[in-house]
């Protein structure tokens, strides 16, 4: 039987998703439902003096209006930060309360203050306009770099500082710097991005007054985790009375990890008003209140020798958390950032210091790559600048500092089990015709254009799991994953997983894995996910963990099925277990070639007896009937995808337009289960990274209004912004899981911003320019370049 793992199987879910048959949260309607409209703060920072609902309550169709006062009286808990980070001085991080409905103060534009439930959406919205909130407007703290100097936002949190965290050894770094031939420095801004999932957030809540169970349909990447948080911290309902269902989810990029205000409020309220509730975010609400990504201000330095050897690295970063610390908000700029900041290089001494600050802006949390794009951007800008200043070829300087032996103990935290960075970069050079670049540059110059090339070599730590490790670093839960594999009596299999697809194609790839393990057809496998009432517990999908953690739980559960199957087959075939081989779905007695298919064995497990024969069960003594197995997988290490991307851009100096002419990506994701799905993930990631580098502009004005809160002003990249991506792969297997897989969901977004920016800066003669490299910024740099060129001439 040909192996399904490794083949380009078309996605099973696409028929549903591409023909409009997907079932998203907003598609769900419950009879007698009410519609929710939230009253949101129009101010970035204000004291709430009074919330007057009297006029709104009289408006037509209004069922109920609830405020921060009521939710506090009912002792419903707020939103949480999932990781406890300690400062360099040993003190605990400082986290403000984040009530689901703000009662005393509002801290970003869009923060919910009250909610109206009405018989129709129009009535709910009209009544929400009538809720009169008396604010005392205060001066907001908006800018990341200045946040520590601003007024104190949250009482008791001095300098708006959540923590001042250090990873690494300052002393060793300073010593190495003292001995360096040269010190390369960069000042970088990692621009804030709005995740912009295609499907806006939504929730539909149904409270059953008889069973007292709340069913919450919601747009979540991790329904079990949401239930746990809402139950343990929100106090909304005990876990056995709270069912969380995330049906089809249309993208998340990290923004749908969090449990949000609206989900807590609507779940609580549905029980209170004894009516079902529906809420669907409008696009503006998504812009204002989905957790944003990135937003770092960094000063970094690299100490090098004249031969281009790296000696030491320092990184001083201020990370903007926004108004509140959310689930992965505090870990993203620390343990997901710092350890990867030394990149794919041997750098004997290093440290990363991060000051995480609160501002009056939307909360910032994990966004595709979470910390690792920021890390890669920092080191890869430094490395490219080092090459430029030393006059060493940008690929050569990288080769000189790559580790060549694995496992590679990276400077700060990780031991990277496998990789071949040299092979990846060599392949990328070849595929991109790196050698021919200068010729292409000449041609562009002859046409009055500028041309640049940029490289980005990256590694990342994903497959986010090892519970013991993450918990030692402050994570509030273990990040294993689980699966249950159920054989039906008639031979099909349901695979339950705690991971949850929001576009990644799990219906297909997980089925491929299970079908291979069990030797059955792809069609006989169904993947079930996204419902806390179905299957085992799970931690969800983020950090490129679904395959490397969740997929392995499936493998292990399947292997338990096969192990039991073998015991049963042995009894059925009247041989001992060790005389049986399992291959291509059949239990075969090696000597006699007698066999039973796994379907026959499954059937026997459910019908352990027969009317005609004498009493004789196929089940061995003490074996239970049925064929269902569960596995919880907790790997020993992260997995470490790596690769090299090469971008080539052409700039029109008169208009400032940057055109991405060529983009080559060579990635090592370990074993690849489905190349089609992987290429899709890489395409999406690269597009997202190019979006960050060239287009996406999140801008708050000085009063904290988000002035790019719609697609009229926020630039989402489109297909015509990209060239055809040129993808290649190298492969070294991960050693931390039996499939040898590493994870591919975030790599594109991690590697591409520095590749693009290095190319732009190369074209601009080495002038620094910040992301997004928009036309006007580039045009200005071109003018400077022209002046200095004419001076030189």
């Amino acid at each position: 039987m040909a192996s399904l793992v490794g083949s380009r199987v078309e996605r099973k879910e696409d028929k549903r998703l591409l023909t409009g048959k997907g079932r998203y949260t907003a598609d769900i309607n419950i009879s007698n439902q009410t519609y929710a409209a939230f009253v949101r703060s129009p101010h970035a920072r204000a004291k709430i003096k009074k919330v007057d609902t009297s006029k709104a309550l009289k408006a037509s169709g209004v069922v109920s209006i609830l405020t921060g006062e009521e939710i506090a009286n009912d002792k419903i808990g707020g939103l949480i930060a999932g990781w406890a980070i300690r400062s360099e001085d040993g003190s605990e991080m400082k986290v403000p309360a984040n009530p689901p409905l703000a009662k005393d103060s509002a801290n970003f534009v869009g923060e919910p203050i009250a909610v109206v439930f009405a018989e129709s959406l129009d009535e709910a919205k009209a009544a929400a306009d009538l809720v009169n909130v008396d604010y005392k407007i205060l001066k907001g703290v908006i800018n990341t770099a200045d946040a520590m100097k601003g007024e104190t936002i949250h009482e008791g949190i001095d300098k708006n500082l959540c923590y001042d965290w250090l990873l690494g050894d300052r002393k060793a770094v300073e010593e190495a710097f003292a001995k360096a031939d040269k010190i390369i420095k960069v000042d970088l801004i990692n621009n804030r991005c709005v995740p912009n999932a295609m499907e806006p957030r939504a929730c539909v809540v149904d409270y059953n007054t008889a069973s007292e169970e709340i069913t919450l349909y919601t747009t979540s990447q991790n329904p079990h985790l949401s239930r746990l948080i809402m139950s343990a911290f929100g106090g909304v309902a005990p876990e056995n009375k709270l069912r969380v269902v995330a049906p089809d989810v249309g993208g998340g990029f990290g923004s749908k990890i969090n449990v949000y205000n609206e989900e807590i409020v609507c779940s609580w309220a549905s029980k209170k008003i004894e009516r079902p509730i529906k809420w669907v975010a409008e696009r503006t609400e998504s812009f204002l209140t989905d957790t944003h990504g990135r937003d770092h201000v960094t000063h970094a330095e690299l100490a090098i020798t004249n031969e281009g050897k790296f000696l030491a690295f320092k990184n001083e970063t201020t990370a903007n958390l926004g108004a509140y610390a959310r689930v992965f908000g505090t870990v993203t700029p620390t343990y997901l950032f710092g350890p990867c900041a030394t990149g794919v290089y041997i750098i004997p001494a290093a440290y990363t210091n991060v000051k995480a600050v609160y501002t009056n802006t939307a909360p910032v949390d994990a966004y595709r790559g979470a910390g690792r794009p920021e890390a890669t951007y920092t080191i890869e800008r430094l490395v490219e600048k080092a090459a430029m200043e030393l006059g060493i070829d940008r690929t050569e300087i990288r080769m000189r500092n790559f580790p060549t032996e694995f496992p590679f103990k990276q400077t700060l935290v990780h031991t990277v089990d496998s990789g071949d960075y040299v092979a990846g970069l060599e392949k990328a050079k070849q595929m991109s015709d790196y050698a021919g670049f200068e010729e292409r540059r000449k041609k562009s110059v002859a046409n009055g254009k500028l041309r640049g090339i940029g490289v980005s070599s990256y590694f990342e730590a994903c497959g986010i799991a090892p519970s013991a490790v993450v918990m030692s670093l402050g994570c509030g839960v273990g990040l294993w994953e689980s699966s249950e594999v159920r054989f039906n009596p008639t031979g099909q299999v349901s695979v339950f997983t705690g991971a949850h697809s929001h576009g990644q194609g799990h219906d297909t790839t997980f089925a491929q894995i299970a079908a291979d393990e069990l030797g059955i057809s792809l069609e006989a496998v169904d993947v079930v996910h996204g419902d806390t009432d179905k299957g085992t517990f799970g931690m969800g999908t983020y950090g490129s963990r679904s395959l490397a953690v969740g997929g392995i739980a499936i493998v292990n559960a399947c292997r338990k099925i096969v192990a039991k199957g073998k015991r049963v087959a042995a009894k059925m075939l009247e041989v001992s277990e060790d005389e049986i081989d399992f291959k291509d779905g059949e239990f075969v007695v090696t000597k006699s070639n007698k066999k039973k298919t796994i379907g026959e064995v499954a059937f026997a497990c459910y019908l352990p007896g027969s009317r005609d024969s004498e009493f004789k069960s196929p089940l061995p003594e003490g074996e239970e009937p049925g064929l269902i197995e569960t596995s919880f997988f907790d790997p020993a290490n992260f997995s470490f995808p790596a690769g090299s991307h090469i971008a080539e851009v052409e700039i029109d100096p008169e208009t400032g337009e940057v055109k991405v002419e060529k983009y080559t990506a060579v990635d090592d994701f370990g074993r690849i289960v489905n190349p089609l799905v992987v290429e899709g993930q890489v395409h999406g990631g690269i597009a997202q990274g190019i979006g960050q580098a060239l287009h996406e502009n999140t801008e708050y004005d000085e009063t904290g209004q988000l002035i790019t809160a719609s697609y009229m002003d926020y630039t989402m990249p489109r297909a015509d912004n990209f060239p055809e991506f040129n993808l290649g792969f190298t492969c070294t297997h991960a050693t931390s899981n039996p499939l040898g897989v590493k994870g591919c969901g975030e790599a594109g977004a991690i590697a591409s911003p520095p590749a693009i920016m290095n190319a732009v800066i190369d074209a601009l003669g080495g002038q620094e320019i910040s992301m997004p490299a928009t036309a006007e910024k580039v045009w200005k740099a071109c003018k400077v370049l022209k002046k200095s060129n004419s001076k030189a001439a």
């Binding site: 008169e654 208009t655 287009h695 002035i707 790019t708 697609y711 002003d713 200005k780």
Partner: protein, 261 residues
């Protein structure tokens, strides 16, 4: 969205009669519907003119191209006649917004709305267009009055726009990267006796840049305007482009337009 009365007008007369201070014509709805949805505009009556056959279609004579008010951008963009007579007009229509917008938005709606960054007003100005309404003919130069302001009176309906066929012409646009409206759009038309450089996006309303037009009238070559610095004091400035950048873009795209002619 607030409630309103919807009328599907049978003919121009009915449409005009239904109009009031609190009404809007509905052509493509690409501007009016979002404004109503966002609460930026509220109307008592919405008068749908899409079903009035007479308002749609393209006619080409020896001297001009006449486009019916409800003709969609996509129709202008793909019209063989337009491509032959005034290729730059087809190009302009084909570069508006995105496919969805082009399949609904209309020339009448575009110029009636007179968005400072819309493309069509510049074509009207450069191509000495005549705006035909249900009761008069208005020259383009007298039609566009200011930001979102036109010479149209209450109940006055655009029936068609008549563009004069130039000797040569070209349209160049620096799109707003997010919306794809014009940050700067330059419509260059060389007529027998004059050269018009109409500019959209740069100021509060479309205008003819006199300096560029004059320079190109005396010498129709890009070197005639190379390096020409325009006054940026009245130009728009926003998060996408400063006034200074816009001023430079106008000259740059005028040059590109000449080179493309």
């Amino acid at each position: 969205m607030k409630t309103f009365n919807y009328h599907a007008a049978k003919d121009v007369k009915e449409a005009s009669k239904l109009a009031s201070n609190s009404s809007a014509f509905l052509a493509g709805g690409m501007t009016s519907i979002p404004s109503m949805k966002l609460g930026l505009a509220t109307y008592k009556d919405v008068i749908d003119i899409k079903h009035i056959k007479k308002l749609s279609g393209i006619k080409v004579s020896g001297k001009s191209v006449t486009v019916g008010a409800t003709t969609k951008h996509a129709e202008v963009a793909s019209s063989k006649d337009v491509k032959k007579a005034i290729p730059s007009l087809a190009k302009l229509a084909g570069g508006i917004g995105d496919a969805q917008v082009r399949n609904r938005g209309t020339v009448g709606g575009s110029i009636a709305n007179n968005d400072p960054s819309a493309c069509y007003p510049s074509a009207c100005m450069a191509l000495n267009a005549i705006i035909h309404t249900n009761n008069r003919r208005i020259e383009a130069s007298k039609f566009f009055k200011g930001m979102f302001e036109t010479a149209l009176k209450k109940g006055e309906l655009i029936e068609a726009v008549e563009f004069k066929i130039p000797e040569k012409s070209n349209y160049q646009k620096h799109p707003n990267p997010a919306s794809r409206y014009a940050i700067v759009g330059v419509y260059l038309a060389k007529h027998k006796k004059e050269v018009n450089v109409a500019v959209t996006g740069a100021k509060s309303s479309v205008y003819i840049d006199k300096d560029l037009s004059k320079a190109l009238s005396s010498s129709f070559s890009s070197s005639a305007i190379d390096g020409m610095e325009l006054d940026s004091s009245e130009m728009n400035s926003d998060i996408h482009a400063s006034a200074e950048f816009r001023a430079s873009l106008v000259t740059t795209y005028a040059k590109k337009a000449v080179e493309a002619c």
